[in-house]
């Protein structure tokens, strides 16, 4: 219980640092942020209005604590473009992004971990080389090139999947999956490559351990050796990678949404970039960073399931 509490409390400074970073970016950026956000066409009144919305007229510490106080009450600020509360804008867009992220994670874990295990088992064979080669290739291609490639092949040419868009689960399961299949694959490949590589190298490391030699000396089959003796030992680093890779996954999802015109957080980001709507971007950064921290907290707590030496 002590560990649990400690781990929960450790989340606070991380999020505090995230808040300070997004706050300081606005104020440390060279030039007057209000002028930059206003853009070339903004009039003097526009800029004054932006300054007012962002609270730029007050002294820095006061601004910061006021801002943090608002966040803690769930108020992420107001968009300088639409005038809507940022929290509301994000909530409207969160559903597709949640679905893509969750399915991408599921897809990547389900394929990557077995692939990594088999690659480690058959280290040095053509299968292992093929997996490693595919992983390097996935690391080398931008998500949107993969995305457009899939669209060109499977949608434009073969017509198996819709070119773009998003259907909610309430519109039926089949349309929902058909719309999400290509985004999930294109956004998930790099995360999958990361996981497969990590699983392989961790498994190889574990397979070199003394207790694996003991297990072999007991006459166990290769399958039991891998799945019972090696995998459980490799689980902690693999789960860690799943958690840490979330940042990479989210980056991929944001770009993928643009490719498939999915009205999620990624699209909101692109729209806000065009409008130089910093409060919205700030809100998105805070929300994704919180999601990242929470997911990693959960993976940390999962360690105890795999390693008896960790006790809470």
């Amino acid at each position: 219980m002590n560990y649990l509490l400690k781990r929960l409390l450790a989340v606070i400074p991380v999020l505090a640092v995230v808040a300070v970073i997004v706050f300081l970016l606005l104020h440390l950026a060279p030039g007057d942020p209000a002028v930059i956000i206003g853009g070339d066409t903004a009039s003097a009144e526009d800029i004054e209005r932006i300054r007012e919305t962002l609270g730029l007229n007050r002294p820095l510490p006061e601004q910061f604590f006021h801002w943090v106080g608002q966040i803690l009450q769930g108020n992420l600020g107001t968009s300088v473009f639409t005038g809507m509360p940022v929290a509301e804008m994000i909530m409207q867009r969160v559903e597709p992004t949640l679905w893509i992220s969750a399915l991408t994670m599921l897809f990547a874990v389900v394929f990557a971990v077995p692939m990594g295990i088999v690659a480690a088992w058959k280290a040095g064979t053509w299968f292992d080389r093929a997996i490693s080669g595919l992983a390097v290739a996935a690391f080398s291609l931008p998500v949107f090139v993969i995305g457009y490639g899939l669209v060109y092949g499977f949608s434009t040419r073969l017509g198996w999947f819709p070119v773009q868009g998003f259907k909610s689960l309430s519109d039926g399961f089949v349309p929902f999956i058909r719309h999400l299949a290509l985004p999930v694959i294109s956004g998930g490949l790099i995360y999958m490559a990361l996981l497969a590589r990590m699983t392989r190298s961790t498994m190889l490391e574990v397979l070199g351990e003394d207790y694996i030699r003991t297990a072999r000396a007991k006459g166990l089959s290769k399958r039991r050796l891998l799945l019972r003796h090696a995998l459980k030992n490799a689980a902690v680093p693999i789960v860690t990678t799943i958690g840490l890779g979330i940042a990479m996954l989210l980056s991929g999802v944001i770009v993928t949404e643009s490719v498939f015109a999915i009205p999620g957080i990624g699209r909101l980001t692109v729209d806000s970039i065009l409008r130089r709507d910093y409060p919205v971007i700030q809100g998105i950064v805070l929300v994704t960073a919180t999601a990242y921290v929470v997911i990693n907290l959960v993976t940390d707590l999962l360690y105890g399931l795999f390693d008896p030496r960790i006790r809470y």
């Binding site: 351990e209 003394d210 207790y211 030699r213 003991t214 297990a215 072999r216 000396a217 007991k218 006459g219 166990l220 089959s221 019972r228 003796h229 459980k232 030992n233 795999f306 390693d307 008896p308 030496r309």
Partner: protein, 346 residues
């Protein structure tokens, strides 16, 4: 018990290693880790294999169970027979039937040799379920008995513990109970006490000696500690640079070592008499280093370090010969073994 072995007369050796050669192949060259080694193990016997690290003693022991990783290790020739059955050409499936069942092994470091994420009970029961086809319940019961046998108090509670909850000595006891769970005919103990405290070492060796008496298991004890050999073993094989240089019963070897390397090892051993006149005698050392095994041997591998070396030692490989008519089971691979046996060598 179901052990489908071919019929064997009781006098026959249970394990025979004959002219075994093992090479490790890499781009940098071929290391002849084991270079033509033969030995035999009689039922219920304890055989010691002694030598410096890197002399091939562990490699030859691992090779009995074919546990060496497939490349780079390569068996280039020879024969390993268990109850007359050839193991070098045996299938992986057959080897798995034998491992942990008819032939078991315990390793040097008990801290790393047990799986940290499985309980002691799971690890012992696993081997019983696999080989003896016991039910889970029966396997756990038997596992508890095994822990009791190796002297772990409250065995049935300790079965639920993980290795990190055991001390080093207790882990090695658990390793031994794991290895002996299926009542194997042969136990290969690879430096079982090296990683332990001195007091624990003696306890573990006592335990092995007792279990050998009670269960009739033949044991191959691999060690660099001649003291341990003197206390427990029946016979000794001395290895140097991948070859067997001397073999004899324990008493003979300690009384009349014939190979200069064995003599060096014995001289380097702190004896009881040392304590008596401490400060007067220094431990002897063997000058020079173990030769590289990347080149094929031309002469005796030990010749560069040997005080008694003659010209022929550098150009001809000495054959393993019986040192004297009166000691027919005392073998040494040295041109001057007979002189040494008769005490004519300084």
């Amino acid at each position: 018990m179901t052990t489908p072995y071919p019929d064997q007369s009781p006098a026959a050796p249970i394990l025979e290693v004959e002219d075994l050669r093992i090479a490790f192949v890499s781009r940098d060259g071929i290391v002849r880790a084991v270079d033509g080694v033969s030995w035999q193990l009689q039922p219920a016997e304890m055989l010691g294999i002694v030598g410096e690290s890197g002399c091939g003693k562990s490699v030859s022991a691992m090779s009995v169970l074919k546990l060496l990783p497939g490349p780079p290790a390569m068996y280039s020739s020879g024969s390993i027979r268990f109850r007359g059955e050839e193991l070098l050409t045996a299938s992986e499936v057959r080897m798995r039937q034998l491992r942990g069942n008819a032939i078991s092994m315990i390793f040097q470091d008990p801290m790393t040799s047990l799986n940290p994420v499985l309980t002691i009970g799971e690890q012992i029961a696993e081997v019983l379920i696999l080989h003896q086809k016991l039910s889970k319940r029966a396997a756990w019961k038997r596992a508890g008995e095994m822990l009791d046998l190796v002297g772990i108090p409250e065995p049935n509670q300790r079965l639920r513990d993980y290795p990190h909850q055991f001390s080093g000595g207790m882990r090695q006891r658990a390793m031994i109970s794991l290895a002996l769970a299926c009542n194997p005919a042969v136990l290969i103990a690879d430096e079982p006490t090296t990683a332990l405290d001195v007091t624990i070492q003696a306890q573990i060796m006592e335990l092995l000696a007792r279990l050998r008496r009670e269960m009739g298991t033949a044991i191959v004890l691999i060690t660099h500690d001649l003291g341990v050999v003197a206390e427990c073993c029946d016979r000794v094989v001395v290895m140097y640079a991948g070859s067997k240089v001397e073999e004899a019963t324990v008493d003979t070897l300690f009384a009349r070592p014939c190979h200069p390397y064995t003599r060096g090892l014995l001289a380097a051993m702190p004896g009881l008499d040392m304590a008596a006149d401490a400060g007067h005698r220094r431990l002897a050392e063997i000058p020079g280093m173990v030769p590289s095994l990347k080149q094929a041997a031309i002469g005796c591998r030990f010749a560069p370090r040997c005080a008694a070396a003659q010209e022929c030692c550098h150009v001809t490989i000495p054959e393993l010969v019986v040192v004297a008519r009166e000691a027919p089971d005392h073998l040494a691979a040295c041109f001057r073994a007979c002189e040494a046996f008769r005490g004519e060598l300084a």
